[in-house]
């Protein structure tokens, strides 16, 4: 589903973020990307959504060269490859409902359709009671759930998670990881999770890509290729 081939990324200030990184992720996989801060985890995720372009190398998504997709059509890819962030990236002045509705509003869906979809997702993530609350007033764990709900509303094929537990307490972290596991298991959504949280890594017996100073130094698969 995703092929990263000889990807190198050098930022403008001559910082080498990725150095000739190659890997392949199959549909339905749950993959962890680990490494210290600055190892290049976020850069991999950014390249996967074309938030950054690689300096060298190619990236394929479902056999399409991502780098050849015109900027105007990136929005489509970004709805298929959704992302959740450590800092949630919610609009604090909008309600939970409005935040989750955004991706469907962008698609021009009508209100009744949006409402129906939001109820389904909110039910699944147990945030129905929070729908009318302003996003800025939620706890970290709740915000991350809203973030996930916003991802799920467009029925993505891939969820990228950039340190999703970075700002959460252990209980909330566990809850989010459980949700991601279930989404992967029940709905076959490919999950790529970047983290440096040891507990998360140890709790998930799944494929691990280890980055160090921009280089892929390990690609381990402890037997269970996917969680499916």
């Amino acid at each position: 589903m995703i092929i990263f081939k000889n990807v190198t990324k050098v930022y403008a200030s001559d910082v080498l973020a990725l150095d000739n990184v190659s890997f392949e992720i199959k549909g339905g996989e749950f993959v962890l990307i680990i490494g210290r801060s600055g190892a290049g985890k976020t850069t991999v995720l950014k390249i996967l959504r074309r938030e950054e372009d690689p300096t060298r190398g190619v990236v394929y998504y479902k056999n399409r060269n991502l780098l050849e997709i015109p900027r105007k059509r990136l929005a489509e890819i970004r709805r298929k490859i959704s992302i959740i962030y450590q800092d949630f990236k919610l609009i604090d002045k909008k309600t939970v409902f409005e935040n989750i509705a955004l991706p469907l509003e962008i698609l021009g869906r009508n209100f009744s359709e949006i409402k129906k979809e939001i109820w389904k997702v909110a039910e699944k993530l147990k945030i129905k009671k929070k729908l009318d609350q302003l996003a800025g007033t939620l706890s970290g764990g709740e915000k991350q759930k809203v973030c996930l709900a916003r991802c799920l509303i467009t029925k993505p094929e891939v969820i990228l998670a950039d340190e999703p537990t970075g700002n959460l307490d252990p209980i909330a972290s566990f809850e989010i990881i459980e949700i991601l596991k279930n989404l992967n298991k029940d709905e076959g959504i490919t999950v790529v999770l970047a983290t440096h949280n040891r507990e998360v890594v140890e709790g998930l017996k799944t494929r691990v890509l280890t980055l160090n100073s921009g280089r892929l130094i390990r690609d381990e698969n402890p037997g269970a290729f996917t969680l499916l």
């Binding site: 959504r49 105007k72 970004r78 609009i91 002045k93 955004l102 991706p103 962008i106 021009g108 869906r109």
Partner: protein
């Protein structure tokens, strides 16, 4: 598409009320810029009036030699009336010239007595020529100097007024350049002020723009609300300015005619209501939208 447009309109409207401080500053900026633009309009109008006033008082006369037949003079009058740029050619006959002279000389008993003693009309037929622009006069003179009718002419007053005419030509050209320069400077200042406030308003929404971009919003979806927002504060700001302008013109109505004769500000405003206000409004809106496009470009690169 309808749903997207409705969402864009709603988001633009929400921006207007959410960012109250920026909205107030934007309204203030629109009012100041409107003031600049109207200062430009009024200067343009006043200078034009001044030049027109001077030009209207310009003319020259052709005095014919005694004994030249009226028919010949009428021929020349017709030719000059058809000359490009000529507004009016009036024939003053010898008799009319004398009448006029007598009227003007009434107050001077010496001249009146001299005319009575002379017992004849010493004056000649002449033509008064008025053109649209001072630039036309040298062309008429050039034509006359080369025409076969030159021998009928005794004297052309143009040479007497030549310096004044040339000065007025030069002054009107310089004033035109100055006004254009002033208008350009006003527009540049207006653009800079507006661009700054647009930058601030978009910067305050930086994170929201980034979020929208990351969840797959198109450029149109992101720009739309800002364009609606700009339209709203430009419209409301200009409306407030207009109310203030009408009030100001009402209160100072007596002052203006002493500055420029016959200038009635309220009539000026309402006679040209749609042209002037439409132009000012669209200039401000255009600068706002260009500013919005440029300021957003940076955030749309994600």
């Amino acid at each position: 598409m309808f749903n997207i447009l409705m969402k864009i309109l709603k988001s633009g409207y929400n921006l207007f009320w959410q960012e109250k401080l920026i909205t107030v500053v934007s309204l203030g900026t629109t009012i100041i810029v409107s003031l600049f633009i109207w200062a430009g309009f009024l200067s343009f109008y006043f200078f034009n009036q001044m030049i027109n006033y001077l030009q209207e008082r310009l003319d020259f006369s052709i005095y014919f030699k005694p004994g030249i037949l009226r028919e010949e003079i009428s021929k020349i009058q017709k030719i000059l009336q058809n000359f490009p740029g000529v507004i009016e050619v009036s024939l003053i006959t010898q008799e009319e010239a004398l009448e006029k002279f007598k009227k003007e000389a009434k107050i001077n008993p010496v001249i009146s007595r001299a005319l009575t003693e002379l017992n004849m009309n010493p004056l000649v037929d002449y033509l008064i020529i008025k053109a649209k622009t001072p630039e036309t006069y040298p062309k008429i003179i050039d034509y006359l100097e080369k025409s076969p009718y030159r021998t009928y002419i005794d004297y052309i007053s143009y040479y007497e007024n030549q310096r004044v005419i040339e000065r007025i030509i030069s002054l009107s050209n310089k004033v035109r350049v100055l006004i254009s320069l002033f208008v350009v400077i006003v527009l540049i200042l207006a653009a800079l002020i507006i661009f700054n406030i647009v930058l601030v308003s978009i910067y305050s929404q930086k994170e929201n723009i980034e979020i929208l971009r990351l969840i797959g919003a198109s450029n149109f979806f992101i720009r739309g609300p800002f364009l609606v927002y700009s339209f709203l504060f430009t419209f409301l700001g200009y409306l407030l300015f207009l109310v203030g302008l009408i009030f100001f013109f009402e209160k100072t109505a007596n002052f203006w005619p002493s500055l420029i004769s016959n200038f009635q500000p309220i009539s000026f405003l309402f006679d040209n209501f749609f042209i002037l206000n439409g132009l000012a409004f669209f200039i401000i809106l255009f600068i706002n939208w260009i500013g919005t496009f440029l300021a957003l470009e940076k955030y749309l690169k994600i």
